[in-house]
């Protein structure tokens, strides 16, 4: 440590380590990220006003009080059966008593039994009519099938219509016409009902289990019971998702097209990573920017009135279409009593930028987790 050139070289080498690790490495990886989402869609850069709005956001230093960084958290897996296999007893054994006792499961397998008995009855009827058939045996089979159908219909206990539609969806069978009516289903299904049936799922885990807890169940459902299912992440210790701040974790690709990435310093104000989804009403957003305390709102955000045109209202003057308004007990009034307030281009740009901040669409590296209310009805 007494030779000056070595100090210089050593400093350069030591600095280069962190430069490589924290600048070159991550920046290269992130810089190579693609906009393609893998499902035929892709992330799009901001354009027009929203692009200009990023500049307004930066100029005013909004990133000192707002973050755009929804954090990650822990999640559990919810096993969602989309179609049960054929063996009811085996399925019950695999998913355990708690989930096996659910009315939807009973009804789904009852639907399967009805369809099976109905098919058997039809086959037996045709066998009776067929030439050269063993009529006696065919009639016995027909009688047996009819009894099974009656029993199966009796098993389709009366439950709510929404639950019945889910049961039909996860049973994997098709019931139409009078038979559907006999089983508590609409004879003519609306589009909403059809969507309910098509998207029906039946959860057989609480959504807090880790992979090690459920891997045996998953393998048994797949290999032994022949069920079709999907695994849904459910937010557990994930404050930003559970508290409604964001729909998922913020990741590098959320900043892919930013001219200046501003993940933020502090959360004195709310996180804005999903503000575009939370605040879709433009007028409300303008009112918030103009004076966040207008209408008695509790807020600590400073007013940004200089982003708006303000002029005194004429007597009995009607509010123009682009006036910023708030709803009060007296109805819809100007955000500033006695004045007409309209947004400047800067305010429009800032609002457009804020509305472009959304994370309510899942990415392959950051899927949307469900929140706890999504468990079985």
């Amino acid at each position: 440590m007494n030779k000056s050139p070595w100090i210089f070289l050593g400093v350069l080498f030591a600095m280069s380590l962190s430069w490589w690790g924290m600048v070159f490495g991550p920046a290269s990886q992130v810089n190579a990220a693609k906009a393609d989402l893998g499902d035929g869609t892709s992330l799009r850069p901001r354009s027009g006003l929203a692009q200009q709005g990023e500049q307004i956001y930066r100029e005013n230093g909004c990133y000192y009080c707002h973050t755009r960084t929804a954090t990650g958290g822990t999640f559990g897996y919810e096993i969602q059966i989309t179609q049960f296999g054929a063996d009811e007893d085996l399925t019950r054994e695999i998913i355990g008593e708690k989930f096996a006792a659910n009315k939807i499961l009973k009804k789904a397998f009852a639907f399967k039994a009805v369809v099976g008995a109905n098919d058997a009855k039809k086959a037996a009827s045709e066998a009776v009519k067929a030439e050269g058939a063993d009529v006696e045996a065919a009639e016995a089979a027909l009688e047996q099938a009819a009894e099974a159908l009656t029993d199966a219909k009796a098993a389709t206990n009366a439950i709510k219509i929404e639950e019945t539609l889910i049961a039909l969806g996860v049973s994997g069978v098709t019931l139409e016409g009078d038979l559907a009516g006999e089983l508590g289903l609409p004879i003519e299904m609306s589009d909403a009902d059809k969507a309910e049936v098509a998207n029906a799922t039946f959860a057989v885990s609480k959504g807090i289990e880790q992979w090690d807890d459920i891997k045996d169940t998953v393998r048994a459902l797949k290999d032994r019971a022949g069920a079709q299912f999907k695994l849904l992440p459910v937010a557990d210790d994930w404050p930003d998702v559970v508290n409604g701040v964001a729909r998922r974790q913020s990741v590098s690709r959320d900043f892919l097209f930013d001219a200046h990435a501003m993940p933020g310093v502090m959360r004195v104000g709310p996180d804005l990573s999903n503000v575009g989804a939370r605040q879709q009403d433009l007028n409300t957003l303008y009112a918030k920017i103009y004076n966040s305390q207008a209408g008695g709102q509790s807020s600590h955000m400073p007013p940004f009135k200089y982003l708006f045109n303000v002029r005194a209202a004429e007597e009995d003057e009607k509010l123009p279409a682009d006036a910023v308004t708030i709803s009060t007990e007296d109805g819809v009034t100007s955000v500033e009593s006695g004045f007409i307030v309209t947004p400047t281009t800067k305010a429009r740009a800032l609002a457009a930028y804020l509305q472009s901040l959304r994370n309510d669409k899942g990415l392959p590296e950051a899927p949307l987790p469900a929140v706890r209310e999504n468990l079985n009805p």
Binding site: N2, Q249, S252, H260, A261
Partner: protein, 484 residues
Amino acid sequence: MSEEETHNAPIAPEAQPEEINASCRGPVLFLFFSAAVWAVQATGVGLLGSLKMHVPGFLADFPFLTYGRLQANAWVAFLYGFAGNAGLGLTLWMLSRLRGMPLAKPGFVLAGAFLWNAGVTAAMVGITMGDQPGVAGYELPAYASRVLLIGQAFIAFSAIITYFSRRHQQLYPSSWFLIAALVAFPWILGTAHWLLVETPVRGAAQIPVAHWTVTSLQQIWLGCMGLAAILYFIPKITRRELYSRQWAAFGFWMLLILGGWVNLNSGSPLPVWSIKLSQYASALFIFVLIAIGWNLRQTAKGVPLLGSSDLTLQCMGFALGAWLITALFTFGNAYSDWNGLLQFTYASTAIRQFFAWGFFAMAMFGAVYYVAPRLFSGEVDWACSGTYKWIYRLTAIGAVVILLAGLGMSYGHGHALQTGSPEVLKKALMPMRIAFFGEILFFLSSLIFLGSMACLLFRNCCGECSPMALIRKCRADKAEGGAE
């Protein structure tokens, strides 16, 4: 084989301290005085920004006075204005003294110092006009960083020439830190300038670049300059040898290797591997803390640094303690639960303030107190040395207030963010309200520092032609006239 045997060239004779001080007088005093002016600006603007945080409607109709712009301006004034000027001034003086040679090319330093201050001014004007790049902790517009880089190159040129002008048998550890700071700064600023502002990489890739820039500026650039001062002055004033060069070397290299990696927030939108690496680096930072802390503890064993009668030693003791606490906080960031709780609260801002004022500014105040009078002659002392003590006291109390508010009360904010409590705003503001008192104390100490510097210059600059000498002469003439 000793170095003496390796290099047969004779070692140049060491210059006298008076000669070295005289060579540094103009450039270093200019840098110190500039630092004092920027310190007042930094604290004044910061105070105004904090006031706006507590009274949101205050001066809300002026777009150039938003909280974000004021915060950016305050940090730029501190980092490049105060820290840059004071750190570079001290670097020049210490390198000259440690090498035993007069400052080479002082004209370059003056030119560099003018450029440097012009760069900081341009940055502040640019930010006021809304030109900041959006990177909290860096915040230099392109034109300002260009000027700063050129200015630093001028000053560094003089420092390097001085450094190589005489061969020493042994380089004192402070020299390593100062050289590291000189080399690191253009690298850090160059990286930020080109990758964030001049030809910015894609948005997502800017986040790791920005983090490396900000953490390197703090840990490596400021850290090296501040620690160089502490390692120089504590042994010097206590008249002891540094306990261990090996410990110092270990701490030095570990600081350089780890300084740019640490403190990445666990929630950063970056690849997981880079966050994990940062956490490991933060964990390893404990070795830097131990190496520096243990070495200086053993050096000053038995000497009450804070209780010393020597003001420089008091300042260095407090600065050392502040550095150790911030290093401990860095180590704490290795734990993702801890970091996850505090990452969006006032805690990281408070720790940055504590590092800036408790460690760096305090080390510089102590160093300036020692160096500035010596630049005139051996007989000059601070005009009002009693008031200079208040710089130490006010800065120390302010730093402790901000630390306690930031760490103690930000926990509540972090917890409220985690639970989605409706009291989150109240919890967020509480530590900032308390820290406001600390900022007032910083402002007062900066004013006293500026006043002390002005007083020192007023009395002693220009030899017999200093304003004070002229006043004394006039008084004496008047008194003589009256007597006649």
